[in-house]
Subunit: 209 residues, 2 copies
DNA sequence: CAAGTGCATACTACTGAGTATGTTGTTGAC
DNA sequence: GTCAACAACATACTCAGTAGTATGCACTTG
């Protein structure tokens, strides 16, 4: 477990705000186009505050990335163990994933950006390790879906397909939400739920027996 | 028709090289993280050459973007008019799209990046118009799929689904290729064809009657 | 041979990451 | 109750990188 946060505030008003604001900026402008001053300005603060908690812009990005991944796990893992055949559980997982993508749009946009950084020139060895760590976590996340896909094939509820490719395609359809989805101002939880169901239904019907 | 290229070389050795190299750089590092000097260095040249043809980095990016879109149209439009029901034509279009995403990985990665630039602070009014133009072209491209989806619903070969959402999900599954697909060194056209077929089959089975 | 093309070279002006240092509260030891 | 240490920032720098420009120079073309 590598720790890039210098400190974690106990009152939850410092670090969490930085993380949230950074996620917003990274979502809107991307990693490179976002300056630390941008984040600070939006926080109503200065660089000093950010560099007090994070030793570099990259570390800040990685921490947002990690938070985004954690939220995905928290959304998907609980529904993984529900009753039902493989296809039933897969549907619940995909729906939870889609909901998480919309609810935590900023953080998950950073996760998506992170995918492109695999080959990034992470300067320090520490950052390299952190990045590899994040990649491993994302692999584990993808693995959850592959596992349930396989269980579905085994119990006959899912067609005999190439699991690796199907997983990438299905997750792609959902992750693509971070590209085009922007919350409407008057949008309710129900609206998001409807949208998630529709996307997932199409994907599930594509693999169901 | 707004023209951002100052000149187009007739021998096809100047501009095309710049475009290709720029696409590579933009794919690997993204727009902001790519410097004009990066592109020039990779070309074995200097900034002078690039600024001779393009008046700004943004204009260069837009031209790569436009080329990427044109290649998508050239891949998809021809197969749109083949014989067959809606679902048959849709499958052919999606497959052509997937193949184009892999064959022109660099250019299409730029197209995907361009999606995020909708809200970009395009400085000059000229650039604003060019960007709006590109957005319109992309809308038209998405429209092709929606149209055939609708025709499929009408002729009964496709289930009665929400066309707009299904189109986004299906195209998302395919566009996601630009995130994870990297050509293997010993990869053949057949390998790509197989991959495309598998992704598309899952998507088609999700909407077929 | 004059005008323009196709670049390279050599600048400028600015942004932006990271640092060094100051300043104000807070906390715990005695 | 006080004082030293430290947390939580703000301020004021440095310096490398980078977009864009100005200019020079060989080579081609009408």
């Amino acid at each position: 477990m590598i720790e890039n946060r210098r400190q974690v505030r106990t009152d939850g008003t410092g670090n969490a705000d930085i993380l949230e604001t950074a996620a917003q900026c990274f979502m809107e402008q991307g990693f490179s186009a976002t300056s630390i001053d941008d984040v600070a300005r939006r926080l109503g603060a200065t660089k000093g505050r950010i560099y007090h908690y994070y030793s570099s812009k990259t570390d800040l990005f990685f921490d947002v990335h990690r938070e985004g991944l954690e939220r995905l796990f928290q959304a998907v893992e609980p529904v993984m163990g529900i009753e039902g055949s493989g296809v039933v559980r897969l549907r619940a997982m995909l729906t939870a994933h889609a909901m998480a993508m919309m609810t935590n749009a900023a953080f998950e946009a950073v996760v998506v950006q992170g995918v492109h950084m695999h080959r990034m020139a992470a300067t320090t060895p520490d950052q390299r390790r952190t990045l590899d760590d994040l990649i491993a976590i994302r692999r584990r996340f993808e693995g959850l879906f592959k596992q349930v896909l396989q269980e579905g094939v085994d119990d006959g509820s899912i067609r005999n397909i190439d699991i690796s490719i199907s997983a990438k395609a299905m997750l792609g359809a959902i992750n693509w939400l971070s590209v085009w989805y922007r919350p409407a101002s008057d949008e309710t939880e129900m609206d998001r739920q409807m949208l998630a169901e529709r996307i997932v239904t199409t994907q599930i019907d594509g693999v169901r027996s």
